[in-house]
């Protein structure tokens, strides 16, 4: 019982409708517009990220004058720079310091950020905005500049922190003069700069946990610790891991703070990969060796990036 054919009007084809060709032309036009719109992005990604990455690998195989491959003794030819780094005590110290710095700083940032987010979430909503605005200030100031302030506070003869310590009866601290204190100083500055970011991320995640879940848990008789353990943490697990991994990438590759605060000193003991690569590659003019140093960051960054991506994909799926 379909429509009666008698009603059918005459069908005149639309002008120039060679059917398949028109359709294809439309589709092709749409995707050529799309390609046109993404071209600038592609230029940036390929020309300024992918190509330099490949070029960096190539550079790292050259000798200092860049006249040929860097010879090696026990590694294949061209990997001489890596060989020298493997055998260099300074390099291993740099690697160790990079890991100590990144891991300690990220753990501290994550814990402090979490705690701050909780405290913020506990106070009445009215005041939250004001407090949040104040607490995020360290993140807003360009780190190279705020580190100047820390440098001045750590100054050996005029340290205002030591002055405060002295008021409460704590001994003076040789902030930037002694190896472990200098390392700690760098961590302190990084934590100071990054903890507010964690706080903001966690706060956003905390706000997205539905209030009913807490009410349901409270009715089920959960204590506040249990609510944290069984409601908040599982709900935030993904965002926490994304933030931590992301921060690990950024912290591990940090340059500004070390450059301004210690410039690698004392005796190159506070260098991290980035600042050491800078020192070797730009300041001492051994571009290939510098490129090799920064390439050492790559495996660790790649692992973190893989997990971040996985976390983000999973999160997207959850939110569908």
């Amino acid at each position: 019982m379909a429509a009666d054919a008698s009603m059918a009007p005459p069908m005149t084809p639309a002008p120039g409708s060679g059917r398949a060709s028109t359709l294809q032309r439309l589709a092709r036009r749409r995707s050529s517009i799309a390609v046109l719109m993404t071209t600038p992005l592609l230029v940036v990604l390929l020309g300024l990220v992918a190509y330099p990455a490949g070029y960096g690998i190539y550079l790292s195989t050259l000798n200092r004058r860049m006249t040929g491959f860097m010879e090696a003794e026990w590694l294949p030819n061209g990997l001489g720079n890596f060989e020298i780094l493997f055998e260099s005590e300074t390099f291993w110290a740099v690697a160790l310091q990079s890991c100590i710095f990144a891991i300690t700083a990220v753990i501290l940032k994550a814990l402090i950020g979490f705690w701050l987010a909780h405290m913020l979430n506990d106070i009445p909503a009215k005041g939250q905005r004001k407090w949040r605005g104040m607490l995020l200030i360290p993140w807003v100031i360009p780190p190279a500049l705020s580190t100047l302030g820390w440098w001045w506070m750590f100054d050996p003869s005029y340290s205002s922190i030591n002055w405060l310590f002295q008021v409460v009866g704590i001994a003076e601290v040789p902030w930037l003069g002694e190896k472990w204190w200098a390392r700690l100083s760098i961590i302190i500055v990084n934590v100071w700069y990054g903890a507010p970011f964690f706080m903001i991320m966690y706060l956003a995640a905390l706000k997205s946990v539905p209030e009913q879940l807490y009410e349901a848990a409270a009715i089920d008789g959960a204590s506040s610790w249990q609510r944290l353990r069984y409601v908040t943490l599982p709900m935030m697990a993904n965002i926490i891991s994304i933030t931590v991994l992301f921060s690990l990438i950024v912290t591990f590759s940090n340059y500004d703070i070390v450059r301004v605060l210690t410039n690698g000193g004392p005796r190159d003991l506070t260098h991290v990969f980035a600042s050491y690569a800078f020192q070797v590659g730009i300041l001492s003019g051994n571009i290939p060796r510098g490129a090799a140093v920064s390439l050492f960051m790559f495996p660790i960054l790649a692992i973190c990036a893989f997990f971040v991506l996985r976390g983000v994909t999973r999160r997207n799926k959850e939110q569908m």
């Binding site: 379909a2 009603m7 069908m11």
Partner: protein, 366 residues
């Protein structure tokens, strides 16, 4: 001149879902056609192919006699009202309605005239300066319709425009849409899964199921003469009872033998029609409103049934009672004054001139 013709329309989505499986439909100029059917039957897909938002896999669509298969939506001269209204959130009501005309480079004065006129028809003149966020659901609905009206297109397309409104507003807007159609008289294709909307609005109703058209016809025809079991069950609320029965020959007349040894006489007018099926198993279809309490004055063509209700639902102006007949759910509609109690025998009559017989092998109504 704005007929819409669909010829053998097929839509297969990527991944192989055949949403529409070859539809033929001719919609006349000025006609109001409603597509109904259960969720996922391909109503929206059909509408979106008419709009040009979805490419057709095969077949032809013509609007106003012009083949539009390859014409982009903006050149099809159609307007569409979406379920979630799709109002531009950053524009005032006025600009929302003017946008399409502005893009078509209408003169300012003409735009203004048309927007004001549409606002008057829809009674939203005081809202023209507001943003969509500051409107109620019903008002947004009107604006979405206004946006379609100002364009004065060849065809209006509606995709479940009322399903985001509450029940009361839905009834009100339904009347409104009907009124607007009577004023502007534009060919309209309207998608809904609500059969009451379909019955009240349509010149012709198109019942779809699983990507095909089950039946096309005016609302009354679908109600009284459903072509298939699906249409019979889909149109009407509560839906028609289907009771397995046997058509028997009894001295020149036909009788239906139902479970529980209930025997009903088929009206003489139908004898010739049903004669070829005598002796076969059939489905006896009767609407709850035709299975009523024994109060009718005109007892011609009725048959008595006595049953024990399982559930009684007083609805105010009527009472619904439900029975089980050999495992089959059966409903009847009573006068609320009729005393009925669960488990107590209740004598009913079936209005046999409203009966249907369905061939259980083909699901066609005989």
């Amino acid at each position: 001149m704005a007929q819409v013709s669909l010829r053998k329309i097929v839509k297969a989505y990527e991944g192989g879902v055949q949403a529409v499986k070859g539809i033929d439909l001719e919609i006349a100029d000025h006609e109001f056609v409603v597509l109904v059917g259960p969720s996922g039957c391909g109503k929206s897909t059909t509408l979106r192919m008419i709009a040009g938002l979805e490419e057709i896999t095969s077949g032809d669509i013509a609007i106003g006699g012009t083949l539009v298969n390859d014409i982009p939506p903006r050149d099809r001269d159609i307007a569409m009202v979406f379920q979630n209204y799709a109002l531009y959130p950053h524009m005032s009501v006025y600009d929302n309605m003017a946008f399409g005309l502005m893009l078509r480079k209408f003169p300012k004065a003409e735009i203004d005239r048309r927007v004001k006129e549409a606002a008057r028809i829809l009674d939203i003149t005081p809202l023209l300066e507001r943003k969509p966020k500051a409107l109620s659901g019903g008002q947004r609905q009107r604006v979405a319709m206004g946006r379609a009206i100002v364009r004065d297109p060849k065809v209006f397309l509606f995709d479940e425009p009322l399903s985001n409104l509450d029940a009361k507003l839905r009834v009100q807007m339904r009347t409104e849409i009907k009124k607007v159609h009577q004023t502007v008289n534009t060919t309209t294709v309207y998608v809904t899964h609500d059969q009451v909307e379909a019955m009240t609005l349509a010149d012709r109703v198109v019942v779809m199921n699983h990507g095909i058209i089950e039946q096309v016809g005016p609302p009354q025809e679908l109600y009284h003469h459903p072509a298939t079991k699906f249409v019979a069950g889909f149109i009407g609320s509560p839906s028609m009872n289907f009771i397995p029965a046997r058509l028997e020959q009894a001295s020149g007349a036909l009788r239906l033998h139902l479970p529980h040894d209930i025997v009903l006489n088929v009206p003489a007018a139908r004898t010739a029609l049903y004669q070829p099926h005598a002796g076969k198993d059939v489905l006896f279809g009767i609407r709850p409103e035709h299975l009523t309490d024994d109060k009718a004055t005109d007892k011609a063509n009725t048959a008595p049934i006595t049953l024990k209700p399982d559930v009684i639902e007083p609805m105010g102006m009527e009472t619904l009672v439900h029975f089980k007949l050999n495992g089959t759910e059966v409903s009847a509609r009573l006068d609320p004054a009729t005393p009925a109690a669960v488990g107590a025998p209740l004598s009913l009559i079936a209005h046999m001139d409203q009966m249907h017989l369905i061939d259980p092998t083909t699901d066609k109504v005989l």
